[in-house]
Amino acid sequence: MAPGFSPNELSSYLVIGAILFSLGVFTVLTRRNAISVLMGVELILNSANINYVAFSHFGSGNADGQIYAIFVIMLAAAEAAVGLAIVLAIFQLFHTIEVEAAETLKE
């Protein structure tokens, strides 16, 4: 582990968030499977949440960052429900969930 990487340092949490964000971006960029793309989006949202809570803990000291994190989690739940419903609808229509296959707006 790099020096200064400890549970008492703001920068270690920001680096964790950065790595998680990059893995999420990698997933979104490379996957052809629509569900995997949604998983990448969840990773990105989690990394943003880590930053919110870390700044709330080390920076301001009040709970505003945690409130924003809860709103992000709520929106992630809504996004997952609608996104996976769309994936199921695409699967019924095209019998595949490769994102490249679903390039037309109708059957």
Partner: protein, 166 residues
């Protein structure tokens, strides 16, 4: 090294290791189950940041809700018995270069920025504070959130239902 530091390293390793499986695994079932490690690990990180309520919400909604939803979607759209690769990836090398540059720039920014720090860092139960904020400062967004969830619920049902042609 104290016990809590060791636990912190363990939690970080679980989080990032499972996230790597999500990103690199060739089997979508492994990817979906690895999300469990990532979400639980992020909840552990929240506990290290003194955010007990957010950690509980993370476990309830991500592990209990979103993960189950993702697993359902995976199993409804794949024939599980197929051994073939179910999680094809495209353009890995350019994506690796882009992501490598991104993580380098982000880490550099984190290191060079002089972050302002709170004078004292407190570990206290946050649930009461969050409840007060939700019913006071953030009342309007809180009520809007319930509307958004209702809209998402109805939207998901409408989109995924089978149309009955007369």
């Amino acid at each position: 090294m104290t016990v809590s530091t060791a636990v912190f390293y363990l939690v970080v390793a679980i989080t990032l290791g499972s996230a790597m499986i999500v990103a690199f695994s060739r089997n979508i079932i492994y990817s979906a189950f690895s999300l469990l490690g990532t979400f639980a690990g992020v909840a552990g990180i929240y506990i290290f940041l003194g955010a007990d309520f957010v950690a509980a919400v993370q476990l309830l909604i991500y592990v209990g809700g979103i993960l189950v939803l993702v697993l359902f979607a995976v199993m409804l759209t794949h024939r599980i018995t197929d051994v073939e690769i179910t999680n094809r990836a495209a353009g890995r090398i350019p994506a690796l270069i882009v992501v490598g540059v991104l993580v380098y720039l982000l880490a550099q920014t984190v290191r060079e920025t002089p972050w302002t720090k709170a004078k004292e860092i407190v570990f206290a139960a946050t649930t009461a504070k969050i409840g007060d904020l939700f019913l006071d400062t953030y009342l309007l967004p809180f009520e809007l959130a319930s509307l958004v969830l209702l809209a998402a619920l109805i939207g998901a049902v409408v989109i995924s239902r089978k149309e009955i042609k007369e």
